[in-house]
Symmetry: C3
Subunit: 475 residues, 3 copies
């Protein structure tokens, strides 16, 4: 059987009052990403981009922010299916929202509908749900799950095992409220059945809203097959209505990544309290210390060891490299067998070759470091290119900014060639270049380019020692 | 009905043997505060300061330390009700302690009694208990709760639902020891009933102690109403008898703050492992990273973002300011839209105006920084006043101490006016002042005040470069 | 009754496929130690070294690495019983492994057999198991425990309470698989019974392996006493088959240390998320902050306070010393009443006398610091000896490396005598010595030894201030 074309309607118009926030609900972030982005990326993976199916995002509160975020996903290629937007100016209920959405022209024969606050519903869940809907020849299906206290969610009604309908919490009897199986806010509908039902839908209920779940009652009366597909793992349908649930959803997503990485052989010292983003990858024999966060598209090679209390984001790390405690790194590349930290800070644009040592209290920014070079202590290198075999002493600074814009640039480059030895407490005032093999004496402020190799550079004053003067000074 | 005057007796004489500590039990700290201080602050909020009621603290072990702490609470206005102290030299039981306490003159018609180790019993609990006591026209009431294993606590005896008395664990039968409802060590007594009962109390029991709960048996015999008021949340009556329970109590208090802040719309990445003191306040749209501790009277404005691994105590932070990872700050004020850290250290007396940038490995102490000023890397500013629009280069130091006391001061002030540019690796030797608009060349040690605006200051040696000498040197 | 001589056979030949690792399974580390090392140290404590009993370690995968590690334990005296190794080239089952092991000559009359992946099985467990085996006059005993889901472990069969045998999971019926009591992989056998049974053992089972537990069936048929000794705490028999279980085992070991230290009166802010190695010791009144790890043979004196996010390994800390947040220290000794950190780094060979202050962003290595000396900010001291009463200003560096090897040494020593005052941004170029009482002016690079006491040392350039030049410069 050919797969039917399935449009995906996402309800993202709500304010999320209980979030107590000025940010539209679906833009709240988990693992650094807006909830809606996470959901759409997952669903997109389950959609054949050549099928003609599209996303239809219903926006309302914060509509510009939401649509801008979604367009960003498209531009960066993170979702491939086309997207249309439906503006729901008044919040008259989920039925109303979907009715508006269906005014867009479509090639689809069925429609999936999602609440936008489901960051844990993965591509695999969507695929399974589509299969179950098809297998049951269902006209209207919802995803349900069971938890101890279903709170304000609509309850799933069954006779024996047979699904008979949904009742909103506000309209439920006391007995119905005790039901623990609830409607997770994810649906698949046959398009004709849905259009037909929405045309007749009324808002005679406690909230005076058009309830999308009324479709089930209407379909049932027409003797159509309906389905409540039960997900045994309630996590995947965990909605986010307040900050506690946001933290829980994030925790579950991080946990999922940690479990996968452990499965792949990574030793994570404290898997519940190590935050590994869903796109983090690691090779064989890696070890990750406690209380560390690794975000973005960070890739660890083989035998990489990450210490405790680190924060890494979009960092590529070569085989055998050791990152020690409390190191912070962003948009950087580390070669093989490097040792960095503890308490080092790598700002965007850092590139370390192999076998580099970066020690404590060192900051790098837009800087490349050649192989076998050491910057061991208390230094700042910005906008610099450092060769291989260089020794950078303690307290080194590239003076990349002098308060004046030259040739349109605020920051200037420092180039230090191979095998240079830089003593402690030296500075180079950029733009500058130090020829290979040069030796800079400790305490020197180097202002002029050193053109010839193996130069000795001194820029300090001779020491004067006066016996007994310290005593006088103290008086 | 007018509220009766209620004195509050607090039993704080115990040593707390199982704490294995030289500190008196009630002075052990949770959330940075002695347990007794937390309890007294809460109870004080439920006491009308004009009623004439007072605290009566029974002290024994470490009596001087305990009374000094309590007097400190009074002096700082943290408690408003007057306090008297009762010294219990010998530990002859809770009945004995209260009997001694009642020797103080009092205007009260009833007495509440607390163990001093109940840091989780809040003002709201006390109010509820007082109301229940009044509503039941009780002469003697205790607060009870139920847990799976009530350990060594006295058991609450009931016939049906009717409270009939208390039995100490040491005196209890095997069947009684299986009772899960226990006496939480919090009481309200009608004064006359209490005085009468204490007068007749005996110590015929396993421990040869005068047990305060014997009052219940005696009141019951006199046909007085007695009450065991059940708190459904056992946490509020959680006593602290060892270091594990101390950690648990602290965890519960921190959790309570985190729950409240989430309710208010703060996104806390890991609410169980973020330590937010009970007096921390936050505006709209704040985010707090994992493994961070925020103590004291710290106030976050709107949209403040705090990174991971930070430690803040008594810090005021303006709207939109970002505090990055592993930042430590104490008794400081940050303006709006500042960016600080990672790995910065703010010691007491730091004041940042708006839009200030403080980068990594920077330490500030008793220093004010004007708006739009940046101190981006590896610097120490102590006892300094820095204007606005200033650029402080990497490796800057205010030399505020020269080993000599001048005019009675050990530390001297540095004043840097607006729009000064300070190159890297500069020092100013205090006392000193740098006029506005001045430019300090990198590598300069500035010893003399710069009086005129827009001065250029250089204090370094010319660079000497000797071709080929590095080679010779190596040999 | 004299204790029988008990040899200990440890099965350490497995690859541990599910670890997804190139490291032999038993060498995976928990709390910084290979699992096998932890087990052997514990078992060794229960063995009388004069009894003639020995360890017999069966090795296979990674045999050289495993045997080298075990020999290291012997050399360092961490285990006292002699060790022989048995190479199991083919993995034909536990019965086969033990049969090979028994080819070694032995004085023992009984043999204990362990899987090598049991880091939580302590000396006390072994002693109890030996006693139970003797008391039951058992010829073949195994250690069992009960958990909700016994996974792939062999099931313990009983009739009533009587132990009747073991069935491997692969060979078990559906009903047997539902049994929750399982074989923990720890055995004690009468040597004769064992030799006899191994001689007749067959591999007619699902895996075609020689199963050691078949001994029980064979012994039972010979009417020998057999015993399944039940450990009520399943943790002690927790095997490690994948990275998740490795993390769980480590967590349990850390938890055990934390519980013991709390019992001893240490206040641990977050006992579940503070990693305290099993050999860490602490005196009275110590406090340990959250998210801190303390490893190796670290010893805290009385009233030591350790902040959050610290990493200490093999550090001795004197009474009353305070270690502030995010401090990293290794193989160092701190005296009494010192204050160190936050964000300080102590590399191996640091020795602080009493009342020393080390502040933020300071790194020490192979350096001793005298009493009452302060190094408060942003400094590096390596290969240095600093006297007492010294003030080291901000930005100080010992230039211990100049790129040249002299007298066979790469690093050179700096000696700073008592009561020296070092201003900010100074460096000393080693080898060098500064006489006591000397005063080094801020910004000086000191290259020559200062021989006479109370000398004043200046090595900087006079300041030149040019009015109005900053304006010109900007143009």
């Amino acid at each position: 059987m050919k797969n039917p074309i399935t449009d995906v309607v996402i309800l993202a118009a709500g304010l999320g009052t209980r979030m107590k926030s000025d940010t539209p609900k679906v833009l709240h972030r988990v693992c650094g990403q807006p909830m809606l982005a996470i959901l759409m990326e997952e669903l997109d993976r389950a959609i054949d981009p050549r099928s003609g199916a599209h996303f239809n995002v219903v926006i309302g509160h914060g509509r510009d922010e939401v649509s801008e975020m979604v367009r960003g996903l498209q531009k960066s290629g993170r979702i491939k299916a086309p997207v249309v937007f439906t503006v729901q100016a008044e919040q008259l209920g989920t039925g109303h929202a979907v009715k508006l959405a269906l005014e867009h022209p479509s090639k689809a024969s069925q429609v999936a509908v999602f609440n936008g606050d489901l960051p844990l519903f993965g591509a695999d869940c969507f695929s399974k749900f589509l299969e179950a809907h098809a297998a049951a020849r269902s006209s209207a299906s919802l995803a349900s799950t069971t938890i101890a206290d279903a709170g304000q969610y609509g309850r799933v009604l069954r006779k024996g095992m047979t699904f008979t309908g949904v009742v909103e919490f506000k309209d439920a009897s006391a007995a119905q409220r005790r039901i623990r199986e609830y409607n997770g806010g994810v649906y698949i509908f046959d398009l004709k059945t849905l259009v037909n039902a929405l045309g007749k839908m009324k808002n005679k209920n406690a909230a005076r809203e058009f309830y999308l779940p009324d479709v089930f009652e209407m379909a049932r009366k027409l003797k159509k097959n309906i389905l409540a597909y039960h997900f045994d793992n309630p996590t995947v349908l965990g909605g986010v209505n307040n900050m506690r649930e946001l933290a829980q959803a994030q925790s579950a997503l991080y946990r999922r990544s940690a479990e996968q990485l452990m499965e792949d052989g990574v030793f994570i010292h404290d898997p519940q309290h190590t935050y590994l983003g869903p796109k983090v990858r690691a090779g064989r024999g890696c070890v990750i210390g406690p209380f560390t966060s690794i975000h973005g598209e960070t890739v660890l090679g083989d035998r990489v060891r990450i210490g405790a209390h680190c924060e890494l984001s979009d960092v590529q790390i070569g085989n055998g490299t050791v990152v020690r405690n409390s190191t912070v790194a962003e948009k950087s590349v580390f070669g093989k067998d490097c040792s960095v930290g503890p308490m080092a800070h790598f700002r965007p644009g850092t590139r370390l070759a192999d076998n580099v040592k970066i020690g404590n209290f060192v900051e790098l920014k837009e800087t490349s470091i050649g192989s076998n070079t050491a910057v061991s202590h208390l230094s700042y290198l910005g906008d610099a290119e450092v060769g291989s075999g260089v020794n950078v002493g303690c307290g080194f600074v590239t003076c990349n900014y002098d308060g004046v814009v030259r040739d349109g640039r605020r920051k200037h480059r420092s180039v230090i060639r191979d095998n240079v030895f830089i003593g402690s407490d030296c500075q180079v005032v950029a733009p500058i270049e130090i020829a290979s093999g040069s030796f800079i004496a400790s305490g020197s402020t180097v202002t002029d380019t050193v053109k010839e190799e193996d130069s000795l550079v001194v820029a300090r004053t001779r020491q004067v020692t006066k016996s007994g003067y310290a005593k006088k000074y103290r008086k």
